[in-house]
């Protein structure tokens, strides 16, 4: 038990990398997926709200809070597609867990890497329930920062071992091939989206442009396919032609948010969609037939971050991979905040 009330455990980028490597990427993804599934099963016990977004011409900054009544979590995350041109990440994030009973933060952590992991884990959880049984081959359209995490999550949870890659920039595909070498995949880099789709049971779209794009058109999508649509995740940013949506059974995280941010922003606001948590909880079926086209319209939801934050908190308690952050004022007498300041003036190392 931590008796230093001023201290909040902090997981730096460096410690997050050490944590992921200590556990192993695939085991991390598997265990994180279990946490996400467990939290989706108790979906109704969470306070849910669409993320609080601040949009600008260049991108978006979002706060994503949720609480289960005992633990509160939120993530700060940005999305700025132009960032990569200046050597920055499109998406950076950090997150906080807090104790609902006291309001005190109990964890601050980088979440750029963690978001990549939780997004991939959530995709694989959805695919476990929605993809055709025995799927081995997946196309990945868009080979940026998220691609390898998706590949490894689908390998860990579904046994995907055949990848067909396409990116408008061939160097992105080459980077994926390099990074995934020796990790158990058979990989083909393709010259076209159509080529990448040949013979796959799953397609993951994860492109990054902030605009309505048409990565997949209707003619590319054969019966029985599972579409894992990850890239369309804010207003005005979609990846699929609307005709595909109309042929698919659509599964979403939190409908009020997905209707604003997901592929289904192209559809009428009352268009029927299925909630993924109801499938995971066993209230509704996932895939029901061989010819069914299933679509996971992923935008990312606060509960997934909550699961990831709690998982990381447990892991750093076991590994010690965190620093102590002097974040909270802790006067000897709680009402004496000003006195703490006065006493700091009296100590020799104060300025």
């Amino acid at each position: 038990m931590n008796l230093k009330l001023n201290v909040v455990p902090f997981v730096s980028v460096d410690n997050m990398m050490k944590l992921v490597l200590t556990i192993g990427v695939e085991r991390f993804l598997l265990e994180l997926a279990e946490c996400i599934e467990a939290d989706f099963r108790r979906w109704e016990s969470f306070d849910k709200t669409p993320r609080v977004a601040s949009h600008s011409r260049e991108g978006v900054i979002e706060l994503m809070p949720t609480s289960d009544g005992e633990v509160y979590g939120f993530k700060y995350v940005n999305g700025h597609p132009k960032n990569t041109r200046e050597g920055r990440q499109t998406v950076t994030a950090f997150g906080v867990l807090a104790d609902v009973a006291t309001g005190y933060p109990v964890l601050l952590t980088e979440m750029t890497i963690l978001t990549a992991l939780r997004t991939a884990a959530t995709s694989a959880v959805a695919a476990k329930h929605l993809a055709p049984k025995g799927a081995r081959a997946m196309a990945i359209i868009g080979n940026g920062a998220q691609a390898e995490f998706q590949a490894l999550a689908f390998k860990a949870l579904l046994g995907i071992d055949t990848l067909r890659l396409y990116d408008i920039d061939r160097s992105a595909s080459a980077k994926c091939v390099r990074n995934l070498a020796g990790l158990g995949f058979s990989i083909t880099v393709c010259n076209s989206i159509e080529g990448a789709m040949e013979g796959v049971q799953i397609v993951t779209t994860v492109t990054a442009d902030k605009q309505n794009a048409t990565i997949l058109t209707d003619n590319m999508v054969g019966s029985g396919l599972h579409i894992n649509a990850v890239g369309g995740d804010c207003p005005g940013k979609t990846e699929l032609h609307a005709d595909i949506l109309k042929r698919s059974d659509i599964f979403v995280e939190y409908p009020p948010q997905t209707r604003i941010e997901g592929e289904i922003q192209q559809l009428p606001p009352d268009y029927p969609v299925n909630e993924l948590w109801r499938v995971i909880a066993g209230h509704e079926p996932g895939r029901t037939g061989d010819r069914q086209i299933t679509l996971f319209d992923s935008v990312g939801f606060a509960i997934e971050d909550f699961s990831a934050l709690r998982y990381v908190k447990r892991q750093i308690e076991q590994t010690g991979l965190s620093d102590e952050l002097d974040l909270l004022a802790d006067p000897d007498e709680p009402r004496d905040l000003f006195g703490m300041l006065l006493r700091a003036a009296a100590t020799p190392n104060a300025a």
Copy 2:
């Protein structure tokens, strides 16, 4: 210019105390008040939203974001009145500034101390426009963590030098007397609220119970008084009898938030109130007569935190009172987040 893209400047509690002491509490309050006034004058250039609150039986956790289109800021803050019984603060807070153009955080700072300072500075800014001219004496009802900051802000901005203190717990008043000794006040500790109100031109109510209380009743409030109502700041938590509100000209920060959280939650939702920023900007008068009762129904608004965060950022750039936090993943090639992880595995100090 900071070329280490992974690093965010962090102001610990220790460095915040050093910063406040280096600048001096009263000068800090004066300069912060100038920043708040400057931002209130350009009120219309901010994105405004009521805070995002997660209420529980014990308290509330809130996120307070705002942006002026160039800089984005938010504060995490809790309010848990029971905390003091366990040696914790009722209110703790931290805050973040980010660059709207990139979405990258540029400052993380403790805000427990900073919130106390900005709340007091905002109260004094309001009183500058609303209190009777030449006011010298102020009653402070509730002598907890906020009391000394209020006293010093009113001294710095208005020249208040006479304090009349009342708290249900006399040890709280004694703490105030001790902490304010030698700072230029004439202080009387009173046995009753009525006693504390004798001869004052301003009353500050800053009690902490999370319930509808009646700290001031109508008969206590004489003509010409300025009421600085700080403690009522969440649904179900008020300090003034509704009859006082009806005799007062009421000034608020952001009406959609104050109607939920402030004293005016006791009034009909269309009850007329004045916006403080319009007074500061010169669009509307503040106090207009000697017998007028003015009420600043303070709940705290995100723009005040934004002002405080920007002020602190400038000050740490001058004083160097910050640490470097490894918060943002920064791969050599932005799309190669996974490769960064792989390369960390290859470095000798990685686990």
